[in-house]
Symmetry: C2
Subunit: 334 residues, 2 copies
DNA sequence: GTTATAAATGTAAGCGCTTACATTTTATGT
DNA sequence: ACATAAAATGTAAGCGCTTACATTTATAAC
């Protein structure tokens, strides 16, 4: 592999000049610039990005920590992020945290030890304190889907209260009065918020929230399955179930089918996230859109601006959910 | 950030010694090793991986090029790969090629310019010649889901002929005689192979392949939709449709519903890949399992062995598909 | 106690770049 | 033509490590 040294010799200039044309910043005359680029292409020269990083103290890489590399939620997020960075010649190093405190911390440290210039974190298990401490450190980061008051300017979040509200309102408008709710783990802020929005809509319709129709799930399909079964077996009647995400809604649908309930005639089901497969399941799932792709891009823009001092579109931290009405919600039969 | 130099000063040893305990290879006495590690933790020292890479000419990173970061197919693949490398302290740099020749080449060059020690490529658009030339280059790579005879030892592939055969056989065993087929783009080897296996099964059942029941799609949902509609409107009767992947099967299902066909009573549908959402769609889709996660891990092992000289489980290049029978295939009504 | 040998440690060059600063060349005004 | 400023180029010192080689220290055999 040719080095800058060989290029400089061939072009008959100094190292510094070659470096200058590479970074085309300083003043270089057209004549020498041409000589140098000619030499470069003759040698098939490619700059060694490792050496560049060491010398410039900038690795041009940003670390991305997600909970899972697979699954319908993270794909669009990573995609939005990679897209933006690729165009800027930055690269993204990916690690998975698996919603586990230790593995998330390891992931973050791994990314830092890799000299990432900045970090985009979608972390769930790590504590607020840890992140606040981290924010005092050398490497800047932005958080997706997590709100910490002390770090509010670097938290890119969805208005989950509104999302919960929209979901409930839609169901209520179809005349449902007895609505089961399968929440996420209530130690998670987003699960809390979605439920809060839900209750808010209920209140607006002068309905009280029935704790017996609440099941606390874990955002995974199986808990949706268990949740619906558990609530059903209590014997209380309900005509709709709202789930705090699409995966659990999928589980609830499977469960309903097993219980012999006709969908959506006997039971309306509502999801949350608008993950891509929601339109393929049956009945096509009504849900709340989570603009995760855009939020990923916004996180990337945050890094571009704060780490690389690039001009970007105006930064936005709070995103709004919206209703996606499909066929899993029917008018209340009675 | 503390450097090796400060550690050496604090521990009262030379740079080389510190480096030795970091890489714990050479002979270092227990006493000095202890002094050094103590100094390290006192300073909160973290090695600068960029400097390590430059000095050792090894970046400990492997490049991964996939067509898309999102979608049900690549997720499990990336996941399998990240998993293995993370445990070995290697990191993965991800780029997307979007099945486009230029972008795939750009992606590969991007990864190479990032000094990846090795590459895992899932490329579709780039030519065999390009890859053969690339294989003469400095950086080793392994191919997933592509077979090039000259590079056969580094091609990790699925036996698609067998997969196509298995799918058709299953449908044929249910008594179907008139079977539509929605293929992938037939310039792609995997699309060809799946179709070849399909024909092979047909022949075994003494049935001839009806070209009029073939539609060439592009592996995307929309083409499944179009495909079924097109075939249907020709007026030929058929009781089953086999699609060369699950996405197209999903499209075909949507199309069938629009045409007023009851599923699976009036039309049996078969997919391919066993992507995770196949069990959520309705009717639950019978399909062919593609062990993409395992194949990703195998690719990672290939790199571990050939690039980093690690011991790994024995390498395997050809993987076998298997039938996943669910409810989208019924006995032929007549 | 020698000497030969092995183990432990140190020295210093270099990986391929960037960049502050110094120097040379060119342009500008009078 | 000359002084002065601006533009172009060169020089050399790092960036934080690894590693070949040199040197010192410990170990063993006699």
């Amino acid at each position: 592999m040719a080095t800058i040294y060989e290029v400089s010799k061939l072009a008959g200039v100094s190292l510094a000049t070659v470096s200058r044309v590479m970074n085309n910043n300083a003043n270089v005359s057209d004549a020498t610039r041409k000589k140098v680029t000619a030499a470069m292409s003759e040698l098939g020269y490619r700059p060694n990005s490792i050496a560049q990083s060491l010398a410039s103290n900038c690795s041009n890489s940003v670390g991305l920590l997600v909970s899972e590399l697979q699954g319908p939620f993270y794909g669009p997020m990573m995609s939005g992020i990679e897209n933006i960075f690729r165009n800027q010649g930055k690269h993204v190093i990916i690690a998975a945290g698996h919603s586990d405190e230790e593995r998330e911390q390891q992931g973050i440290e791994f990314l830092i030890s890799r000299n990432c210039d900045g970090l985009i974190l979608h972390v769930e298990a790590v504590s607020d304190d840890y992140l606040i401490k981290l924010s005092k450190g050398r490497v800047p980061f932005v958080l997706i889907n997590r709100f910490i008051p002390e770090l509010s300017d670097r938290c890119i979040i969805l208005n989950n209260i509104k999302g919960g509200y929209l979901a409930a309102k839609h169901v209520l408008e179809q005349g449902h009065k007895n609505i089961a709710y399968i929440s996420g783990p209530l130690w998670k802020k987003d699960a809390q918020d979605r439920l809060a929005g839900h209750k808010q809509a209920l209140a607006e319709f002068n309905l009280s929230f029935n704790e017996q129709l609440l099941y606390q799930g874990d955002f995974m399909e199986t808990s949706g399955f268990e949740g619906l079964k558990t609530i059903y077996q209590q014997g209380l009647s309900f005509s709709a179930v709202i789930c705090a995400n699409d995966e659990m809604a999928t589980g609830a649908i499977a469960s309903a089918r097993e219980l012999g309930l006709a969908l959506p005639e006997q039971l309306s089901v509502m999801g949350y996230d608008n993950v891509f497969f929601t339109r393929h399941i049956y009945p096509p799932l009504s849900t709340i859109n989570y603009p995760i792709n855009e939020m990923g891009q916004m996180a990337a823009n945050w890094i571009l601006k704060h780490v690389y001092q690039k001009q970007t579109e105006p930064l936005q931290t709070m995103f709004e959910p919206s209703l996606v009405a499909r066929q899993s919600i029917r008018h209340c039969p009675q």
